[in-house]
């Protein structure tokens, strides 16, 4: 299956792009997707924090299944306000 992946703030600086499209096996979870992304963008491993994850705009855990998920966003710790 294919998911749309979004990167924000310093993570977008690390990847050099705000979005990508990734093919992953059925039943994959967030952690599996992240591993694929780190292969493609090694700079993601040096960010110094573990990103937050949102699946279709809802915060999700790293072991959340991606079945039926269209868009996965990786978010640095938020700093609005």
């Amino acid at each position: 299956m294919t998911v749309e992946v979004l990167f924000f703030a310093s993570l977008a600086d690390s990847t050099g792009a705000p979005r990508d499209r990734i093919e992953i096996p059925d039943g994959a979870d967030v952690a599996a997707l992240w591993s694929r992304l780190v292969e493609r963008y090694p700079a993601l491993e040096t960010t110094g924090f573990r990103p937050l994850v949102a699946c279709d705009m809802e915060y999700a855990a790293w072991d959340a299944s991606l079945d039926g998920v269209r868009e996965v966003a990786f978010l640095p710790p938020v700093s609005g306000g």
């Binding site: 978010l75 938020v78 609005g80 306000g81």
Partner: protein
């Protein structure tokens, strides 16, 4: 009302949005850009967001406040883009029959949105710029 916008924030307009004839109290909070942070002289800040989700999370904070506190109305606005020193980056307004609930709900909203709404700031200081890393939702 919640909004993510690039235009300057008008605190007075936000007060008008929330207050009704049944309210005896209105609390307004403005977060403004400081000229110093962690010992550095700040030149300006740039805010960016995961906009659709930020709007949704902001509305969630508003709905939570209305459910938890004896308030009549609540509103929150967050600004994006480049902000100069002194400009407001965020505003929260709450109207309530009595002042304790207005203060409590206003504080709840700013505390919560700073942890949950996907917005980030990049700080420009003398000699460089840096993404500011904030609090994590899991921290509390």
């Amino acid at each position: 009302m919640v909004r993510i916008q690039r235009e300057p924030i008008d605190g007075q307009a936000l007060i008008e949005v929330v207050r009704t004839a049944g309210d005896g109290a209105v609390a307004l909070f403005l977060g403004t850009v400081r000229d110093r942070n962690e010992g550095r002289t700040v030149l300006r800040l740039e805010y960016s967001a995961y906009e659709d989700m930020a709007l949704q999370e902001l509305e969630r904070v508003r709905a939570d406040a209305l459910e938890r506190y004896e308030i009549t109305a609540a509103a929150a606005v967050h600004r994006l883009g480049v902000l100069e020193i002194g400009e407001a980056s965020v505003a929260v307004a709450v109207a309530a029959p009595h002042r304790a609930a207005a203060f409590d709900a206003c504080r709840f909203m700013i505390d919560t949105l700073k942890r949950t709404v996907p917005i980030w700031k990049k700080e420009s200081f003398e000699g460089g710029e840096v993404w500011v890393e904030g609090e994590r939702p899991a921290d509390d």
